[in-house]
Subunit: 197 residues, 2 copies
DNA sequence: AACATAAAAGGACAAATGTCCTAACAACAT
DNA sequence: ATGTTGTTAGGACATTTGTCCTTTTATGTT
C-alpha cells in the first residue's frame, strides 16, 4: 500500500521552489473529495505531498474495485499523460490531501530533460506493475480470507482505518462476505484466547 | 492479449543490424520451453520477434496465474532490469518463439541514449499497467462467466488456441469450473439454435 | 498394435461468495 | 428532539466455485 517515495517528492519540491510555482502548484483536497473522475479528460499530473488517495474503477455493473492506495511521494495521472488518454479510474481523497500539480506538458518536458525524474517515473511504473499483477495473482490463487489477513496487517502497519466498504472493494468481495470473514477471524481469536487461559 | 508493437520491433532490428549482433542476439525457443523462471537471476531483456509467450506466477499453494500473453514486439524482463530484481514470474513459450536478447546494461544504455526507445518502453509499461489493473478489476467485479466470454473472443480474434489448463489459469479459476462454464455456454447456444429452427 | 502418458470431461459433495432483506446504530442537519 | 441519511451487522437462501475422484479421449512411443 502507500509507500513513501522521498526521491520524487524532494525532486518536485525542488522544481516547485525554483520555478516559483509557475509550472507547479500545490493543491489541497478535503477528505472524500474527488480528485479525478474516471473517463474525464485531465491535463494534470499530481504528486501526493501528504495524505492518502484511493484509485478505483467503477465497473458498469456498479461495483467498485480499488486497485491501489497511494500516499506521500506517489504519482497520479502519469499513465494518462503518457498514453494521452482520459482518466482510467477515479481518484478520491481518503484523508485530507495536499498534492503538487503540474500540466501534462510540464510532465513530458520533465521526463525529457530531467534524467533523475525520468528514472524515478520508470521505476514507479515498474513497481506499480509488480504490485498490481502480484495482487491480482494472489487474489485469484487464495480465498478472500488470506487477502483479508494481508489487508488487516497493512492497515495495522500503516495505522490506517478503512471503511468496511473500502475494504470490500479492495478485496474485490461483497460487504456481506467481508463481515462473515471478520466474524470468523474474531471467533478464531476468541477460541485462541480461551485456549490459553 | 498479444498486440503487435511494430515500433519497438523495427527499432531493435535496426540495432541488431547495425551492431552486427555484438550486443543483440536472436534466440529461438521451442513450444513449451522455459524462457525465464520465477526467482531466477536474469541478465537479459527480450523482445519477442514472433510467437507467443505466457507470463505466469506460481503461487506457493501450487496454483498458477497467467497475467499476460505477450506477442510480437512485446518486451520481457524489462521490469526486472529496471528494478534490478530477480524474475518476478515464469515466462514460457506457448508457440515456437524467436526473440531478440540483449543484456540489461545494454537495455539501460538504450533507455539512456535512444529517446525513441525510452518512449516506447514508457508507453509499454503504462499500457501493461492499464491492461493488468483493468483485468484485475473486471475479474473481481464480474463472475467468471463474463471473463470466459471475453477470453473466447480474444482467442477467436487472435486465432489462438489455448489449453484448458491455460484458460483456467488466465481466468484464475479451476479447470472444473471452466468446464462447467463452457458447458453452460454450449447449452445456451444449442437452445438458441433450436429456437431459430 | 499395445502401452504409457497427458489432456479433457464430468459426478458428487463441500466450501465460499453473492443477493436480498431487515434491523440497529451513529452522525448530522433542521 | 426528531427526522434523515449512511454505515454496520447479520439471517436466509441461491449461486458459484473448489476439491476429490473416476472415466473417457487424445497423443505419442516403442
Amino acid at each position: 500500500m502507500q509507500q513513501t517515495n522521498n526521491i520524487i517528492l524532494s525532486l518536485i519540491e525542488k522544481v516547485y521552489a525554483n520555478e516559483s510555482s509557475k509550472n507547479v502548484s500545490l493543491k489541497k483536497y478535503l477528505k472524500g473529495a474527488d480528485i479525478l473522475k474516471q473517463g474525464q479528460i485531465t491535463q494534470h499530473v499530481l504528486i501526493v505531498k501528504n495524505g492518502l488517495v484511493k484509485c478505483f474503477y467503477s465497473e458498469e455493473n456498479c461495483k467498485e474495485f480499488i486497485f491501489d492506495f497511494l500516499g506521500s511521494g506517489e504519482v497520479v495521472g502519469e499513465i494518462e499523460a503518457i498514453r494521452h488518454i482520459k482518466c482510467l479510474c477515479n481518484i478520491q481523497a481518503v484523508t485530507d490531501v495536499e498534492a503538487y500539480s503540474f500540466s501534462t506538458s510540464c510532465f513530458h518536458s520533465l521526463i525529457e530533460q530531467n534524467r533523475e525524474f525520468r528514472d524515478v517515473i520508470l521505476g514507479e511504473l515498474a513497481e506499480r506493475l509488480i504490485k498490481t499483477s502480484q495482487r491480482a495473482s494472489f487474489q485469484k490463487a487464495y480465498s478472500a480470507k488470506y487477502g483479508l489477513l494481508k489487508l488487516l496487517d497493512i492497515q495495522k502497519e500503516g495505522n490506517l482505518k478503512l471503511s468496511k466498504s473500502d475494504m470490500a472493494s479492495y478485496l474485490g468481495i461483497d460487504i456481506r462476505s467481508l463481515n462473515r470473514l471478520l466474524h470468523a477471524e474474531q471467533d478464531k481469536n476468541v477460541r485462541l484466547i480461551s485456549h490459553t487461559i
